[in-house]
């Protein structure tokens, strides 16, 4: 029951990132996604790995919440993104629960949805905060994919993902300059 709920929470966070344009909405999206993935990692790899991911996600959340910007959820023209979130979620659920076999359905679902939706968000946006939030979520999903093999991959993938997620949220990219 908890596992299924955590998978849904991870999808919800990725959907918030896909649907949000404001920094607060993006920050909450990362936070929600981190909670879902961390709970799944807690069950598969143990408390230390889950704590590492949770800290990385928490650090990634702070700049968005402190920015003072709005949520920017579902602005005009975001219908295709909403369809992507629902359609992508259903497709991922079909693959994770029906096509594939064995335990860890929720982790499979979370990895596919978070990696897919954050990758799509990176492709479709030009704003640095959106891109960096997408990178953070993608890093969390990629580290969770390391735990799909059954055996625990050790703390390193989670540590690197936490550094990328936490570090990229605070990054201020240089603007493009003329040659």
């Amino acid at each position: 029951m908890i596992e299924g709920l955590a998978g849904f929470v991870a999808w919800l966070g990725a959907a918030l990132i896909a649907l949000g344009d404001g920094r607060r909405g993006l920050g909450v999206g990362v936070a929600v996604s981190t909670i879902g993935i961390a709970v799944l990692v807690l069950q598969g790899s143990g408390p230390v790995d889950a704590a590492i991911l949770a800290v990385g996600g928490a650090v990634a959340t702070i700049p968005g919440l402190r920015s003072g910007e709005g949520w920017g959820l579902m602005p005009a023209g975001s219908t295709p993104r909403l369809i992507l979130c629902i359609g992508g979620g259903l497709l991922a659920l079909w693959i994770a629960a029906s096509i594939t076999t064995g335990g860890g359905v929720a982790l499979r679902f979370a990895v596919i949805t978070v990696a897919g939706l954050s990758g799509a968000r990176i492709l479709s946006s030009d704003g640095s905060p959106v891109l960096l939030t997408g990178v953070g979520a993608l890093a969390l999903a990629a580290s969770a994919a390391a735990g799909l093999g059954g055996a625990s991959p050790g703390p390193w993938p989670y540590l690197v993902a936490a550094v990328i997620a936490g570090g990229s949220a605070w990054l201020r990219p240089r603007t493009a300059s003329a040659a």
Binding site: I122, A139, A142, G149, R174
Partner: protein, 346 residues
């Protein structure tokens, strides 16, 4: 660490040292900081014990490279390497799912597509601005980070995929390789801008690399390693050496330009020639019509390479010394490539 990856890493470190030694003093500090960071990140991709960690390090490198600035926007710089990471992450996930064999084929598709997106070859060519500095341009991905990444991914893929999916992965690499050969060599020939022509020539060379990696026999792997050698220790330093002449729009047809053009085209006795012979031999062993297609594709290198050779202008001073060293290294590796193969256990 994979011996193949160590060897490619040593090549990259060598070309970085050459770039530092032969570059003008003014941009040297910038090159040292940016190139050193890139070299450390590339070494990390080769050194980490699992492919998951390599993919995460790649994501970190993509963010750092995009954030460092240039003439292209942050979004344009980040988009395709990040897409590559997303595809690779999904591919790794699919390779671990239990279920029908089709899932592993999806993993193979993701690995091939992710590799192409991260390196920046067709169908995921990174947007290119000819006016942008070499250390900020997509050349970093195609000639500096890409060779190590491809070596690590292709060799690690053998442990991830079943024999059936591995064959599909090889076939996809050959298909991508043929497309890149044609696209790159024709692009280097017909494009108006010479800097863009240089970029297309890298794409064409990557076509050979992908075909070599796709031929899952020793000759194919050896050919891929040699083409990587010609990219890193041939085409890249020659491209860097041509930047000054390109800025001054100097274009000459002296003997040195012809020699450089011949090396770039893979003429005997350069390393490119040995690589092409190995590739053709490997293709003949597997499926001879493939060798015919490869041979026809290799003929397309000549017009573009002669053009690129002329773009070096009239080399003098440090630039001339650097070009002589690069040509000599390539001829030496072409005449006696066995140490390269034995160092990589091939």
């Amino acid at each position: 660490m994979l011996p193949e990856a160590i060897e490619v890493l040593v090549m990259i470190a060598a070309v970085f040292a050459m770039a530092l030694a032969f570059s003008p003093p003014a941009p040297r500090r910038h090159l040292l900081v940016k190139g050193g960071t890139g070299l450390l990140g590339t070494a990390a991709i080769a050194a980490v014990p699992t492919v998951d960690l390599a993919v995460l390090v790649l994501l970190g490198l993509a963010v750092l490279d995009a954030a460092a600035g240039g003439t292209r926007s942050f979004a344009i710089r980040l988009r395709l390497p990040a897409l590559g990471v997303a595809l690779l992450a999904l591919a790794l996930a699919f390779s671990r799912f239990a279920g029908p064999d089709t899932l592993e084929r999806f993993a193979a598709v993701g690995l091939a597509a992710g590799l192409a997106a991260a390196v920046g070859v067709v169908p995921y060519l990174h947007p290119f601005d000819p006016e942008e500095g070499a250390s900020s341009s997509p050349i970093v991905w195609i000639a500096f980070i890409g060779p190590v990444l491809a070596t690590v991914l292709v060799w690690r893929a053998h442990g991830l995929l079943s024999a059936d999916a591995g064959s599909a992965f090889g076939a996809m690499l050959i298909g991508l390789g043929l497309i890149n050969m044609a696209w790159g060599s024709l692009g280097a020939w017909v494009t108006d801008n010479t800097v863009t022509a240089w970029r297309y020539s890298f794409v064409a060379d990557w076509g050979l690399v992908l075909c070599g990696f796709g031929l899952t026999i020793a000759d194919g792997q050896r050919a891929a390693l040699l083409v990587v050698f010609t990219i890193v220790l041939g085409r890249l330093p020659l491209y860097l050496g041509s930047r000054q002449a390109l800025r001054e729009k100097t274009d000459t047809g002296r003997p040195v330009n012809l020699i450089v053009g011949a090396v770039l085209a893979g003429a005997a006795p350069s390393a490119g020639f040995a690589a092409r012979v190995l590739l053709l031999r490997g293709a003949t062993q597997l499926y001879w019509p493939l060798a015919l297609v490869l041979l026809l594709g290799m003929l397309l290198w000549l017009p573009g390479s002669l053009r690129l050779g002329r773009s070096l202008g009239r080399p003098h001073g440090r630039q001339a010394i650097g070009i002589v060293i690069v040509v000599a290294i390539n001829i030496l590796a072409g005449l006696y490539p066995l140490p390269l193969f034995s160092a990589a256990n091939l």
